[in-house]
């Protein structure tokens, strides 16, 4: 079973880096989103520093959403998904492998790139470590929760928008606690806020690790049968 899991993960990573839509692409999208923010709200440095954590989180969310819709759809369209179901790997673990590869090719590169983009938004250097730490905890949750939307819309052509609508509400807790954890250091909030936000963000992340695969596998079964 472990061998099948590794084979699937390796294939998905290879495809993601080869076909595009991999790490590089997501980082560039992230860069574009972040660099149009100053154009939109003006070059006021104080204002930029204030909205920076939120903007970076929204950028991360959008990048994750944009790359989600093909998670299962490509395999569904060419018949691979049928065969993935005839392996001895449970469908839940197939979802875990897919979510993991999505996180490795989308979430992780964005977390690494976040401080660089934070500089563009005049984010205080002191806020980099909490921001990166919060994103590191939150990004897997985005991938795992995202599998639910991707699975439910697997049979829908151009289901990307629908998947985003379905997944966005699930992302809200991640966004709230993620921004809370990252901006507590900047805004000078009371002592306990950052720690509480980190705790809640980690809780959301852990719940999504379980809920995501189970719900997505159920969604896929419902779609295929």
């Amino acid at each position: 079973m472990m061998r099948a899991f590794k084979a699937l993960l390796a294939r998905d990573l290879r495809l993601a880096t080869r076909v595009g839509g991999g790490g590089g692409m997501a980082v560039f999208f992230f860069l574009v989103v972040v660099s149009i923010v100053p154009l939109g709200i003006g070059p006021d440095l104080n204002l930029l520093a204030m909205v920076a954590p939120g903007m970076l989180w929204v950028g991360l969310l959008l990048s994750a959403l944009l790359t989600l819709d093909r998670l299962f759809q490509a395999d569904f369209e060419d018949g691979s998904l049928d065969l993935l179901m005839t392996g001895d790997l449970p469908l839940e673990m197939v979802v875990v492998a897919k979510a993991l590869s999505h996180w490795l090719t989308t979430g992780l590169p964005l977390v690494v790139a976040a401080p660089l983009l934070g500089l563009l938004l005049n984010l205080d250097v002191a806020a980099f470590p909490p921001l990166m730490f919060a994103m590191l905890i939150g990004a897997p949750a985005l991938s795992f929760l995202g599998t639910i939307g991707a699975a439910l819309t697997v049979g829908v052509r151009r289901g990307g928008l629908l998947a985003s609508l379905l997944v966005m509400p699930l992302y809200i807790p991640v966004l709230i606690f993620g921004v809370g954890a990252a901006s507590a250091a900047v805004a000078g909030m009371p002592e306990g806020v950052a720690a509480q936000s980190f705790g809640l963000l980690a809780a959301v992340g852990l719940v999504s690790l379980v809920i995501g695969p189970v719900a997505a596998a159920a969604g896929l079964r419902a779609n295929l049968r």
Binding site: R3, A4, A7, L15, G79, L83
Partner: protein
């Protein structure tokens, strides 16, 4: 061709009073069959008779509206779907991967042996091993899809029109592989319009089992 000789334990696949419901339409009902090791079950019938649906039901990709499918001996916790190969209409290939990468992936995923060269050689794909799938012709893609049969030994083969796109030499190669699979005690259920000239064939005509139309 150096492919390890192996035999499957004696086994039997039985379908009892199967029915298939697609979009509110009863495609077939009361379908029963029994298949022993070393036998082929050929599915015939006009388009829409439910040949593909039956194969998908056997593969666990489509729900049984009624009846049951039993494979004996029961292999404990290994589900039926992990003891069969399903080759459907779609080739399930990724254009960005090379032939040998594709074979490696399926061997790893389906829990097959390490002799990938032999599997590719069995379908005359050895010379194309490093070519990306995107550059293969339809027949070559089909052969690569069929190479999964060789990559992992599984007792039941479900073949949905396996000869589509294949030239005469490739069909002969496929028939030889099917014969060897049967000789080893394996089972094949195939929907095909071609007479493949295989030995023990049971035929199941789905046209006679067409369900009564529901309003």
């Amino acid at each position: 061709m150096t492919y390890p000789a192996m035999t499957y334990p004696t086994m039997r696949l039985e379908g009892v009073e199967l029915a298939c419901l697609r979009g509110g339409r009863l495609v077939f009902e009361g379908l029963s069959f029994a298949l022993e090791g070393g036998e082929v079950l050929e599915l015939t019938g006009p388009n829409g008779a439910g040949k593909s649906s039956l194969l998908r039901q056997m593969a666990g990709l489509l729900e049984l509206a009624a009846g049951r499918l039993v494979m004996t001996p029961d292999n404990g916790d290994v589900p039926l779907s992990a003891r069969l190969h399903y080759v459907g209409h779609q080739d399930a290939l990724k254009p960005a991967m090379s032939v040998v990468e594709t074979a490696h992936f399926w061997a790893g995923y389906l829990g097959g042996g390490s002799d990938i060269e032999a599997a590719l050689g069995a379908l005359d794909l050895a010379a194309l091993a490093n070519l990306p799938v995107a550059y293969l012709s339809a027949g070559q893609k089909r052969r690569l899809a069929l190479s999964r049969l060789m990559l992992a030994p599984r007792p039941l083969w479900l073949l949905d029109e396996p000869t589509v796109g294949l030239d005469t030499a490739s069909i002969a190669r496929l028939v030889a592989l099917m014969e060897r699979h049967l000789g080893a005690g394996g089972m094949i259920v195939a929907a095909t319009h071609l007479d493949l000239g295989l030995g023990v064939i049971k035929t199941l005509n789905l046209a006679s089992l067409a369900g009564t139309e529901t309003p």
